[in-house]
Symmetry: C2
Subunit: 302 residues, 2 copies
């Protein structure tokens, strides 16, 4: 049986951005319903965070728990289901899940950065938060002076690799098989800085005892082992047909396009956090969630 639900603001995604938006909406006395989908917030993995202001060091799961508790404390409700279809244009807006048909006056999208499942590397999930990272800013400083492997080749990946080097990591870059000509120059620049570039290699496996200790890379069918303390994976982001179908404008990286007030191209629909390809930081996700929540409230006032 499908149940009908009504809310002032529907928030899709239960990470730092979505939960902060929910806190702001609920605290203002409006109904805030949060959808927590199958793919959990990256915080649920469990790793140490040193750069969320207010906590010198905190386990990501503990911080996520605090965010959930605080949103609920102010009256936000959480439904543990994925959004399956969106009808966002017009008023009200409709979103369906497995068990519910939801009517909302405003919608905030905070689904985080998608990773397509087929691309996952053996060992990647097991060691996430224990040597596997997706963010140079977050985790680079933890491996200062040590050997790390970076994997991926895009403009963003090259910048992240430079950041690892800036922070003092000893970086080896594995580019993957296909190298687009526009990256040749960037790779040359890394080599000039003394970095090792393994051109045309693929990352095949991440291994270790309790933490990452080594990786297996491959070129032309030849396997090779490299000892490293950490692996940074910088993937390009696959598209999201759900959002495109709903009329939302995405950029070339398949991220939802927003302005400084977190407004999308669809009236009454806002987006916050990693889904907008921001800074992949808890601090900035929280900031964007706050702005999206306040803007949704302003939209309801109209």
């Amino acid at each position: 049986m499908i149940k009908n639900l009504k809310t002032d603001v529907l928030i899709i995604g239960a990470g730092p951005a979505g939960l902060t938006a929910a806190l702001y909406v609920a605290r203002a006395g409006k109904k805030a319903l949060v959808l927590e989908g199958r793919t959990p917030s990256r915080l649920a993995i469990g790793y140490e965070i040193e750069n969320y202001p207010g906590f010198l060091k905190i386990d990501s799961r503990e911080l996520l728990e605090k965010f959930i508790e605080q949103a609920k404390h102010h009256g936000a409700e959480i439904l543990k289901e994925d959004a399956l279809a969106l009808a966002l244009e017009g008023q009200p807006k409709y979103v369906t899940t497995r068990s519910a048909f939801i009517e909302a006056r405003a919608v905030i999208i905070a689904t985080g950065r998608p990773i397509s499942e087929e691309k996952i590397i053996p060992g990647e999930e097991e060691f996430t938060g224990r040597g596997v990272s997706y963010c140079a800013t977050c985790d680079g400083p933890l491996y200062r002076g040590r050997e790390v492997l970076a994997y991926g080749l895009s403009e963003e990946a090259l910048d992240e690799v430079l950041e690892l080097e800036q922070v003092g990591c000893r970086v080896k870059l594995v580019t993957g098989k296909k190298i687009k000509p526009e990256f040749k120059e960037g790779l040359e620049k890394l080599r000039q800085k003394g970095m090792v570039v393994l051109e045309g290699y693929e990352l095949k496996a991440i291994q270790g005892e309790k933490r990452v200790e080594k990786v297996v890379v491959e070129k032309d069918g030849q396997m090779e082992e490299i000892l490293v303390s950490a692996v940074f994976i910088f993937r390009e982001i696959p598209g999201s047909t759900l959002f495109t179908k709903a009329g939302l404008q995405l950029d070339e990286r398949q991220c939802v396009v927003v302005d400084r007030l977190q407004r999308t191209n669809v009236e009454g629909v806002f987006a916050a956090g990693d889904v907008t390809c921001g800074s992949l930081q808890v601090a900035s996700a929280v900031g964007e969630g706050c702005v999206a929540g306040m803007q949704a409230l302003a939209y309801l006032r109209k």
Copy 2:
């Protein structure tokens, strides 16, 4: 004796935005120098915060202390002086204070929202954080169902007043003496919603024992007392000649104009927090500080 200082990133302002930027810069191994001027962060006043994610309830001074400690822990340094002159175009950038001549590769402006001193209302400073507020979103929910007075007339002020009403406050608005014709319609809308609009009245004093209990308003020389639990002051912001002189683009509200990456119109100069007329929230200031810090680091890599 003027001393010469050199830093990678100079951060002007020691509130949530500036300290978060400093944390990010210092944690990446770069030198971060923070100027803490005479006007302290609004957090230094001491009031309860319920909407900074991670803390159900925290005293603003305690939170500020945590931000300072965390930035210092990662190596940021704080100099307790105001920026007196800025030379931001070109490379490096120069900033002078009372005792120092500072050379920086990048600058982040996070000076907060200025209030001109001559405009302060008797009782305003004494009761700030104890009934006097500048932010409907922050403090409105604390006065649900109670009488509050709002003071000020601008587009922003009208929106804040609607927010107070949305949250469940019983609002009286004091408009000040001069009423621009473009606000007539907005005031009519408030009246239709059942709000009391004291047109042409000035706010003369804020009084009480330990907390705000009443205000004195004036029209045509006649004084009147009104019992209220809180006073929300929504001022327009005075201009900042320091920034204009330095070549920074300001908007009509005299706020520094930035893009989504917190970049100003001057290369290598970023701005974050209330100085950009964002959301006046600790959460969004922290988010913007994080982005500004990361962007300054990206700028240094170039």
